[in-house]
């Protein structure tokens, strides 16, 4: 008796052994199953359809060879890796060098990581907000339905949003531990702390949004501008300049997150009912 599930499982394993990444194998599997369905409607048995669809897709080693050719990095990837390398290098030098300095002997490595990561997350958010503003202005001036800048921004944000989330989260967690060492409590409820929560929350929302709907290019500039506002108000709010904006931001982000969760739940419900 032909077992479709285990046949596909072993076919997947062969492709992965051939050097094809699981994400690409998922796509090939969707193709294989479409082909099987079509062949079965033509009167083939499930086993025959599986064999024919597999042959149609090609051998694992040949496909693997083609996919491996794609792995050569593009210039943009080198740039991103270069910047990340520089950041990590700078952080390493700081951690190694600063504690040996007499004047700066009091600086805690934990504090360095906290300040370094969180500042980078703030700067990243600010830069993207500027890019977003530029995109919105460009759109208003050129009135073009499609714009390569929007697309470029969306591709960059796919890297930057999760990276920003990791940075902000690291900054937040190390900050808590440092506060525990220095002040005896993990959380003091300061505006500065709530500002960091707001920035982390925004990065988390951006990451989830991007993971869920990669195709949505056009709302991105608006999203980055909103992120910039979060960064801006968190920064000034922390200094007490703009009052208690950080609390408001965290509340706003929680409301947006709750609203998104409700929409998602309703959509899933509708799908189940359909």
């Amino acid at each position: 008796m032909f077992d479709r599930e285990s046949a596909i499982k072993s076919w997947r394993a062969e492709l992965e052994r051939g050097g094809i990444r699981p994400a690409a194998v998922d796509e090939l599997q969707s193709h294989l199953e479409d082909a099987m369905d079509e062949l079965q409607t033509q009167g083939m048995s499930e086993e025959e359809a599986f064999g024919k669809a597999w042959r149609g897709l090609g051998q694992a080693d040949e496909l693997g060879q083609e996919f491996r050719k794609l792995r050569s990095l593009l210039l943009g990837d080198y740039l991103v890796l270069g910047v990340l390398g520089l950041l990590l290098g700078a952080l390493g030098v700081l951690l190694w060098y600063l504690p040996t300095q007499q004047k700066l002997i009091m600086i805690d490595p934990l504090l360095l990581v906290h300040v370094g990561t969180l500042t980078t997350a703030y700067v990243l958010g600010g830069l993207f907000a500027l890019a977003g503003c530029y995109c919105v202005l460009r759109r208003l001036v050129t009135r073009r339905a499609e714009d390569a800048w929007f697309e470029r921004l969306s591709l960059l944000l796919r890297w930057a949003a999760p990276a920003g989330l990791v940075l902000a989260l690291t900054g937040l967690v190390t900050g808590c531990f440092w506060a525990h060492q220095a002040w005896g409590a993990f959380w003091m409820g300061e505006l500065k702390e709530w500002g960091a929560v707001a920035v982390t929350g925004w990065y988390a929302l951006a990451t989830i949004r991007l993971l869920r709907s990669k195709d949505r290019v056009y709302p991105l500039p608006a999203m980055t501008v909103a992120g910039g506002l979060v960064v801006l108000f968190s920064w000034f709010g922390a200094g007490g300049y703009a009052g208690r904006t950080s609390f408001l931001l965290v509340a706003a982000i929680l409301v947006v997150a709750l609203w998104s969760a409700c929409r998602l739940f309703r959509r899933e419900q509708e799908r189940t009912l359909a």
């Binding site: 690409a24 796509e27 969707s30 193709h31 479409d34 496909l63 969306s154 990669k214």
Partner: protein
Amino acid sequence: MISKELVAASSEAIVLSILERGENYGYAIIRQVQESSGGQLEWTDGMLYPVLHRLEKRGLIQSRWKQGETGRKRKYYRLLAKGRRALEEQKKQWGTVQSTLNSLWA
């Protein structure tokens, strides 16, 4: 039957042209190629995907996973502005090749 080399050379232009008509997924693209060429252009189905991934990496197309009516998830591709420009360029180049050959064979 068309030679492998010619199939490989024309693959990007063909894929971009199909996506110019609207968002589509791998299996349907292959079927459309077979239909449009009357079965003359034969691709190994799997070989389409490295082409699609390369085009996406170059920022010419963009993909997203979407659930179809049958409940099966498929990866849909759509043409981006950069891809549209690349396609215009390809059309010019293939047009030049075609008119050159036409004039030589006339």
